[in-house]
């Protein structure tokens, strides 16, 4: 049996390891802090490959696109990023976090 953890049944790190073994370039985004009605708890992960594969999530789909963009940059430079999605009402539509929650996401390159 594999692929389960106490906090989430999705094994994103296992998926990332498998992708690395296939020769993919991989970055991981992790929710490190949330406020308000963020849909995914701290510790939720999204894995992204340079080739465009995605696994897991860091929100209800609102910010995955923006995070994947940053992840691509991190894969190029190797430099980790700490992102703030602290969304004021007037900007909420712009980045698509309509729930009004706020979160911090850490993005790092694997390997």
């Amino acid at each position: 049996m594999s692929g389960t953890t106490g906090t989430d049944s999705e094994d994103i790190l296992g998926t990332a390891a498998a992708w690395l073994a296939e020769g993919e370039t991989v970055a991981i985004a992790t929710v490190v802090e949330t406020w308000g009605s963020s849909p995914r708890p701290a510790g939720s992960r999204l894995a992204v490959t340079k080739s465009g594969r995605l696994a897991g999530s860091v929100s209800g789909g609102c910010i995955e696109g923006a995070v994947a963009e940053v992840a691509r940059k991190t894969m190029e430079t190797g430099a980790p990023q700490l992102l703030d999605f602290g969304i004021s009402d007037e900007r909420a539509w712009e980045v698509g976090l309509a729930c009004g929650g706020k979160l911090k996401v850490f993005v790092e390159k694997m390997g």
Partner: protein, 232 residues
């Protein structure tokens, strides 16, 4: 994350050792707790996060760290490879449970019936349960209806720190069970831990519906039940 650290983390997970990945923010320096030397104040935070099973950010001595909790899977022990177990097992897996089905009746306890993603024990329930040693991250559900099978499993479960114990059977069946367990020397407080009739009362009729009601009750036991609605 370096490849070496990822491999160590996956190895800990494979060995079912609780670990925490500590990431310094924003520069991304990482430690694997408790394997790597960790400053005492940070180690205390990591211990607490593992105990709470909650990943979180902390600030220690003016430095921000993210503690990613990597606890071994929750366990669900199902006694009785019966029809309801066939519905319960595949639903428990995506909830993050490692499932073991216990049933000494070999015609019931087959991979064909239970699927290949669960462990199956055909030992007698008291022996199987003693070997499985339920801990505070384990839920136990008895489904056989048969006192010869359910009771010995319950006797072990009720003296364990299992976070949930449920037992299929009507109120009448349960009243008889309580009498037998009392006779067997279990205390009123121990016996009161049994959720019976098992599952949330949602009027479940079919096996999958009963499985949903049981799993909902297990989730409630783990997460602390109904929560207040978030402030708008």
């Amino acid at each position: 994350m370096t490849p070496a650290l990822l491999q160590r983390l996956l190895a800990a997970r494979e060995a079912k050792r609780p670990v925490a990945l500590l990431t310094r923010l924003p520069d991304g320096a990482q430690l694997l707790f408790p394997e790597d030397a960790t400053p005492p104040a940070l180690a205390a935070e990591a211990e607490a996060a593992l105990r709470d099973d909650a990943s979180r950010s902390v600030t220690v001595d003016g430095t921000a760290w993210f503690i990613a909790v990597e606890n071994p899977p929750l366990r669900l022990i199902v006694v009785g490879a019966v029809h309801i177990a066939q519905a319960l097992v595949p639903m428990a897996l995506p909830l993050g449970f490692a499932v073991t089905v216990v049933d000494p009746r070999r015609s019931f306890a087959t991979e064909e019936r239970m699927g290949d993603r669960v462990a199956i024990s055909t030992d007698w329930p008291d022996e199987a349960m003693a070997a499985l040693a339920p801990d505070a991250r384990t839920a136990v559900v008895t489904l056989t209806h048969d006192p010869k099978l359910d009771d010995p499993a319950l006797e072990v479960a009720l003296r364990s720190p299992a976070f949930y114990i449920g037992s299929l059977g009507s109120r009448r069946t349960h009243a008889k069970r309580v009498a037998r367990l009392t006779e067997a020397g279990l205390t009123e407080a121990e016996i009161a831990r049994i959720h019976a009739p098992v599952g949330l009362d949602i009027g479940a009729v079919t096996a999958p519906e009963i499985a949903v009601s049981i799993l909902a009750q297990i989730v409630a036991a783990r997460r602390g039940g109904p929560k207040k609605k978030a402030e708008p």
